[in-house]
C-alpha cells in the first residue's frame, strides 16, 4: 500500500476570466470583421410561423427527388406557381403533387408549398 502525502492544498488561482481576451500579444485583426456563422434556419425558413416539417416514409416519391427519411419544409405562406411541389389533401389523405397547370379531375385541398427537401446524403 502506498501512502501519498497530500502536501499543502492551495486554491487554484483564477487566471483571468475566460472569454475575455487578455491584452497580451497582438490583437486579432479579425475583431472588427466578426460576423455570426451561417445559420441554416435563417436560410431555409422565410416565415417561421407558417413553416411545418414532414418526414417522408418510403421511396415512392423518387420521381420528385424525394426519398425515404427526407424532411420536407412546408411553407404555408407561399402561393404555389405551376410545377411547384405541393403537399395536398385528397380524400382525407396527404399527397405530394406538382401544382397543376390545369385543374385536375380529382379535387384537392392545398396544405402547403414544399419549399425545401432536406436529404441525408450518406
Amino acid at each position: 500500500m502506498e501512502i501519498f502525502s497530500s502536501g499543502k492544498l492551495s486554491k487554484i488561482k483564477n487566471k483571468g476570466a475566460s472569454g475575455l481576451s487578455k491584452q497580451s500579444g497582438f490583437p486579432s485583426p479579425a475583431t472588427h470583421y466578426a460576423e455570426p456563422s451561417v445559420d441554416l434556419h435563417k436560410e431555409l425558413i422565410a416565415n417561421r410561423d407558417a413553416t411545418f416539417y414532414v418526414r417522408i416514409d418510403g421511396d415512392e416519391l423518387s420521381n420528385y427527388n424525394i426519398w425515404d427519411k427526407d424532411v420536407l419544409l412546408i411553407d404555408r405562406s407561399l402561393a404555389p406557381k405551376k410545377n411547384d411541389l405541393v403537399l395536398v389533401v385528397i380524400d382525407g389523405e396527404f399527397k405530394v403533387i406538382r401544382f397543376p397547370k390545369v385543374f385536375l379531375e380529382t379535387e384537392f385541398i392545398l396544405w402547403g408549398l414544399i419549399s425545401y427537401i432536406i436529404h441525408y446524403a450518406r
Partner: protein
C-alpha cells in the same frame, strides 16, 4: 377600435390540422390524465349528449359509438401553435394583449384608414393560411363589445363569415339586444341571475339601468362592463401580462398511489414547476398550499381529502426551500391506508422579489442569497427542462406521472415526432 381574435375549438382544431382524415369529423380532447373531455370541435358539439367535463370513463362508450376521435391533451403542440397565432397577430397590430392560449385583443386604433371588416378578414385568412387554424374576429370600440362581436361572428357564420364589426350605433344596439345577459363577458352567474330576477334579460336592457344602481349593486367592476357596453372604453389594454396572483398545479396520478415517498416525489416535481414560473416572473410566494385526495368517482375506495396552507417565514421562490416546506406539509396531511389519486400545490400571496421583507427571527440562509437558483434555471434553459432537478423529485420511474395513451405526436417541437408521410405511387 379593438379586435378580439379567438381560435375556434382550439385544442381540437390543432389536432385536426395534422390529420386531414379527421376534417369534418367529431374530435374531442381529454384533460390531463384522460380525466374528462375539455375540448370538442363543432362536429362533436353538434352530437347532442356528449357532456363536457364528464369523467372520460363514463362517456368512453358513447364517444366510440358516435365515431368521435379522442386525443389525450398535447399541450406542447397547442402551446407552439398558439405561439404561431400570436406572432402572426403581432404583425397586424403593435399592441397585442394575449388573453389566453387561444385568444388575444388587438389595438387597432392606429388603423383609422382601413376598412375594419376587410382588416378582420385579412387577419382571419392569414392565420388560417399560415397555420390551418380557423379563428373568429370581433371588432368593436371596447373590449367587452369586441368579445360580444366575436361571439356574433361565430353564431351567424353564413352571414358574417367569422368576422363581425360593431361600428355603428344601430349595430351596437342590435348586438346588445341579441346578447343574453349571462353571455356578457364579465357578468358572472350570480349577477346574471339577479338581473334576470328583476327582468333584465339581455345586454341592452342592462345598459338602460341607471348608473347608480349598477354601481351600488354590482360594484365598480359591473359599472365598467356597463360603460364598455355603451361603447366607452374603461378596461385598459394590457400588453404585458400581469403577474399571476396564484400559481398552482395538480394532476391526477397515472395510477392510485398509497406510498408517501411516491407522493412526495410527485409533489416535489410540481413545486419545481411552479417555483420556476415564479422565478420567471420575478416574484416570491408567501403562502404554500398542499392538498391531497383520493378518487371521488370511485365507489369502492375509502375517501379522504385534506389541504393545508403553510405561511412561509420569508416569501421565497427557491425550489429547495419550497420543496422542504411542502414535504413537511405533506407529512402532516398524509394518512396511510388510502389510495390517493391526486396531489396538488398552490403558491399564493405573490409579491415582487425585490419587495420581499426579511424576517427578524429567521436569518436568511447563506445559500439562499447566492446565485444557486439563477444558475439552476440557466442550465435548465440551455440544456432542457429538468436537466438539473432536486434530488427529492427522485430518479426512479415516475409511476405517478401522466398516462397519455392517445396523445398525438408533438409535430412541431420534436424531430422524432414530425408529421409522417407514407408515400404511395401517385
Amino acid at each position: 377600435m379593438i379586435a378580439l381574435v379567438d381560435c375556434n375549438s382550439f385544442y381540437a382544431t390543432c389536432e385536426q390540422v395534422f390529420r386531414p382524415d379527421l376534417w369534418g369529423k367529431p374530435v374531442v380532447v381529454l384533460s390531463n390524465n384522460d380525466g374528462c373531455v375539455i375540448a370538442a370541435n363543432k362536429e362533436a358539439k353538434a352530437l347532442s349528449g356528449i357532456p363536457m367535463f364528464e369523467p372520460f370513463f363514463k362517456i368512453k362508450k358513447l364517444l366510440i359509438d358516435n365515431n368521435v376521435t379522442f386525443f389525450s391533451s398535447n399541450y406542447t403542440l397547442y402551446g407552439e401553435m398558439s405561439q404561431r397565432v400570436m406572432n402572426i397577430l403581432s404583425s397586424f397590430s403593435p399592441e397585442v394583449e394575449i388573453y389566453s392560449i387561444d385568444e388575444a385583443f388587438l389595438d387597432l386604433s392606429g388603423m383609422k384608414h382601413f376598412s375594419m371588416n376587410c382588416y378582420g378578414h385579412q387577419i382571419k385568412d392569414t392565420i388560417f393560411q399560415y397555420t390551418g387554424l380557423p379563428v373568429g374576429v370581433g371588432i368593436a370600440p371596447t373590449k367587452v363589445l369586441a368579445k360580444l362581436a366575436n361571439k356574433i361572428s361565430k353564431k351567424r357564420v353564413s352571414e358574417n363569415k367569422g368576422v363581425f364589426v360593431i361600428d355603428s350605433e344601430e349595430k351596437r344596439i342590435e348586438a346588445l339586444q341579441w346578447a343574453d345577459i349571462n353571455t356578457v363577458w364579465g357578468i358572472g352567474s350570480k349577477h346574471s341571475k339577479r338581473l334576470k330576477d328583476i327582468g333584465i334579460l339581455n345586454a341592452y336592457e342592462f345598459t338602460q339601468l341607471p348608473k347608480e344602481w349598477v354601481r351600488k349593486n354590482m360594484t365598480v367592476v359591473g359599472l365598467r362592463i356597463w360603460s364598455e357596453l355603451q361603447g366607452k372604453p374603461t378596461i385598459e389594454f394590457k400588453t404585458v401580462p400581469s403577474p399571476k396572483k396564484g400559481i398552482g398545479t395538480a394532476k391526477s396520478f397515472g395510477k392510485k398511489i398509497e406510498d408517501l415517498g411516491m407522493i412526495q416525489e410527485a409533489c416535489s416535481s410540481y413545486i419545481s414547476e411552479v417555483s420556476e414560473l415564479l422565478r420567471n416572473q420575478k416574484s416570491c410566494a408567501t403562502y404554500l398550499q398542499v392538498f391531497l385526495h383520493t378518487n371521488y368517482f370511485s365507489n369502492h375506495d375509502q375517501q379522504y381529502s385534506k389541504s393545508i396552507t403553510v405561511t412561509l417565514g420569508i416569501p421565497t421562490n427557491n425550489t429547495f426551500i419550497l420543496i422542504s416546506e411542502a414535504k413537511k406539509a405533506l407529512n402532516i396531511i398524509y394518512k396511510p391506508g388510502y389510495r390517493f389519486k391526486k396531489v396538488g400545490v398552490c403558491l399564493s400571496g405573490i409579491i415582487p422579489s425585490n419587495y420581499v421583507q426579511g424576517n427578524l427571527f429567521i436569518p436568511t440562509p447563506r445559500w439562499e442569497k447566492n446565485e444557486l437558483m439563477h444558475v439552476f434555471d440557466k442550465i435548465n434553459r440551455k440544456y432542457g427542462k429538468s436537466t438539473l432537478f432536486s434530488g427529492l423529485v427522485g430518479t426512479r420511474a415516475k409511476e405517478w406521472e401522466l398516462v397519455k395513451e392517445d396523445r398525438s405526436p408533438r409535430y412541431t417541437t420534436q424531430w422524432k415526432e414530425l408529421l409522417k408521410l407514407k408515400t404511395t405511387k401517385n
